[in-house]
């Protein structure tokens, strides 16, 4: 018997009696204050929220707030910032990216997260390797909880998907919170 058969046989012999799955529908309660909640939570976890009315406004903020940044990559066609990071490029080459601007499918009010998949990302490492991260979501695409989030995701296909909630952080040294462990030191979310 190989290991797989050995493991499965042992499990089958030891599995307890059948036990049903819970219904999760009751967790899908509507919430009208998602925008305010989203902004509060994102701020609390070290992110910055900007409610904006146009892509031009986003460009202005980027120009003002990231003056020092040498290399910016935008995956947002509506912005006049150059988009690069092609799908066939070497991921390691993104090491010098100072700011990545990426559109996200939706935001989650209860935890400040945004959902991004490799259908958007040409290189999966981009939102992690960049020194700073900016994300654009539509106001109407903020959902109350993770239950709503997975309802949105449904059975969509992707190779990689990620919830990103704030800048990379650690508190491993005496529980002192430090932003910018390995990933971005800042995260800004433009809410359009």
């Amino acid at each position: 018997m190989n290991s797989k058969e050995k493991i499965l046989t042992a499990i089958k012999n030891n599995q307890p009696a059948q036990s049903g799955l819970p219904e999760l529908q009751s967790f899908l309660k509507p919430d009208t204050e998602v925008l305010e909640k989203y902004i509060n939570v994102l701020t609390a976890i070290g992110g910055v929220a900007n409610v904006v009315n146009s892509y031009a406004e986003i460009e202005n903020i980027i120009r003002q707030e990231y003056k020092e940044v040498q290399r910016i990559i935008s995956l947002c066609k509506e912005l006049s910032i150059p988009g690069e990071a092609g799908r066939d490029a070497d991921a390691h080459e993104l090491e010098t990216v100072g700011l990545a601007v990426i559109p996200a499918q939706f935001g989650v009010a209860e935890n400040g997260a945004v959902w991004v998949t490799d259908n958007i990302l040409p290189q999966r490492v981009l939102p992690f390797i960049t020194q700073q991260l900016a994300v654009i979501i539509k106001k109407e695409n903020i959902v109350p909880t993770m239950h709503h989030a997975y309802k949105n995701i449904g059975n969509t296909d992707y190779g990689f998907g990620v919830f990103i909630a704030g800048p990379s952080k650690t508190a491993d040294i005496e529980q002192s919170l430090v932003l910018g462990a390995h990933g971005p030191k800042t995260m800004r979310v433009f809410i359009l």
Binding site: N2, S3, I7, L8, A10, I11, N14, Q15, P16, Q18, S19, L21, P22, L24, S26, F27, V41, R87, A91, H92, E95, E110, N111, G112, A113, R124, V125, F128, I129, T145, M146, A149, Y150, K151, I153, N155, Y158, G159, F160, G161, V162, F163, I164, A165, P167, S168, K169, T170, A171, D172, I173, E174, Q175, S176, V178, G180, A181, H182, G183, P184
Partner: protein, 460 residues
């Protein structure tokens, strides 16, 4: 770090030598526990979430073999390579063979308690493979040549000055600099170079979805993603109990995990790995290592529901005051104490006794494991199987005799009170473990039995 063959009590004694440090450790973990409470109390549906999580995990245990097969089939269809390991040794060999076949001798690894359980690092090192732990806390204990002392906060036992000294020695930071911000940045720069140059990355797995064949890895630092997305080969090690039935169930677990662990609403990154990048490889190693045996122990099987949040450690009065290393096993604290005896009853016979059975662990557990009941049940199994320490056995026999003979019991109580009043030095000395790190309370003048007899008469 050599801890010899010392048991929990002896190792805790060593930890307790430095009282201010114990107090600091205690208070830091209680602070994390308080953050957990705050995050949990914000959600009116918290108890329903725990119940839902518990039910999903019960369903997983009842259908584990089917879900594993379904997961394997879906993962294969996604282009992921699935391996099965019956024990730690087989897991380690699979990992080594994968690295060897790819001509890789240096890997980065994000946090995985399973690889700690399997002692993967030391095995790979003897095979000439360099492993760099990339979680900051794990990197610190790795440089200090110690195991993690907590599953979520690996170097919670270390003071920043000690970390500064470790970094000064290994990373060349200025002597005496113990600023967390500065030290974190030094580690960031050092580890970036590692991420960019290593061709293989290892990660753990928090959840694996049977329905889709994807798996989820949660980190705050982003180290799992930095490793996996820059490497040619990604090897993910997972215990077979990490399976959940449907993608939708992730909503329940991701809402509970970080809130229970650190009080955050969610970890910074919840990464869903489904397919490898073009031209790259993802391997998953499914590891049993005693789990299928635990599944057959009706009283203990639901310890396999654990999602490794660490809430039971943060709340445990014994863990907080004895430190993670005193448990001499990869997973410390209350949950570790019910998992470890399954692997080796003789070696870990002391752990179920390292508890006051206060039940706080059970109350905070996000998947409703009856941790303190299992600690109590393990004690009975261990004594019955003959693994209890000799001194404890003699003491228990003495107690059995005393408690079943009322006359002896009353005499013993009276004698004890008399001794503590008239000759305290007989008990207040180094030979009595109850006097270690604490003062005994003043003995009452009478027993409850005597008090009751007297007051009952007066009242009737």
């Amino acid at each position: 770090m050599n801890q010899g063959n010392k048991d929990h009590a002896a190792l805790a004694e060593r930890f307790n030598e430095d009282e201010p440090r114990v107090n600091w450790h205690d208070e830091t973990l209680w602070w994390v526990r308080a953050k957990r409470d705050k995050a949990a109390h914000v959600l009116p549906e918290w108890e329903q979430l725990r119940e839902a999580a518990s039910q999903i995990k019960n369903n997983v245990l009842a259908n584990l073999s089917e879900y594993l097969l379904q997961f394997e089939e879906k993962a294969r269809a996604n282009g992921v390579i699935v391996h099965w390991a019956a024990d730690a040794k087989e897991h380690n060999e699979i990992v080594y063979n994968l690295l060897h076949a790819n001509g890789i001798s240096r890997v980065v690894k994000s946090k995985s308690m399973l690889t700690e359980e399997c002692h993967l690092n030391s095995y790979l090192q003897t095979q000439g493979i360099e492993v760099i732990d990339t979680d900051l806390g794990e990197r610190i204990v790795q440089l200090a040549e110690e195991p993690p002392s907590h599953i979520v906060l690996p170097c919670i036992h270390k003071k920043k000055e000690e970390i500064g000294a470790i970094f000064h020695e290994h990373l060349g930071t200025p002597a005496g600099n113990a600023d967390p911000q500065f030290l974190t940045n030094a580690a960031r720069l050092d580890l970036r170079e590692k991420f960019l140059t290593r061709r293989a990355a290892m990660t753990g797995v928090n959840f694996a979805v049977a329905e889709t064949g994807e798996f989820v890895v949660c980190t705050n630092e982003g180290n799992a993603d930095m490793g996996a997305h820059l490497a040619d080969v990604h090897i993910a090690s997972m215990g077979i109990e990490k399976i959940i039935p449907q993608r939708n169930h992730l909503s329940v677990f991701l809402r509970l995990l970080a809130r229970s662990a650190t009080g955050q609403p969610v970890t910074t990154y919840s990464s869903h790995f489904k397919k490898p990048r073009k031209g790259k490889e993802i391997h998953i190693v499914l590891v049993d290592n005693g789990r299928s045996v635990q599944l057959g122990r009706a009283d203990f099987r639901n310890s396999l529901k654990c999602i490794r949040c660490g809430a039971c450690m943060n709340t445990c009065p014994v863990y907080r005051r004895s430190g993670g290393h005193s448990y001499h096993t990869a997973i410390a604290g209350p949950i570790g104490s019910i998992l470890a005896p399954n692997l080796d009853m003789r070696k870990y016979a002391d752990l179920p006794f390292a508890s006051t059975l206060c039940g706080s662990c059970t109350n905070v557990c996000p998947v409703k494991i009856d941790i303190h009941d299992q600690l109590y049940k393990w004690r009975q199994v261990l004594v019955k199987e003959g693994y209890a320490p000799a001194a404890k056995k003699v003491a228990m026999l003495g107690m059995t005799f005393t408690l079943s003979h009322p006359g002896v019991y009353q005499f013993a109580g009276k004698a004890g009170r008399w001794v503590m009043n008239k000759m305290p030095f007989i008990v207040n000395n180094k030979l009595n473990p109850w006097y270690k790190q604490r003062e005994m309370p003043e003995p009452p003048k009478q027993s409850f039995g005597e008090w009751y007899k007297k007051n009952r008469k007066d009242n009737v």
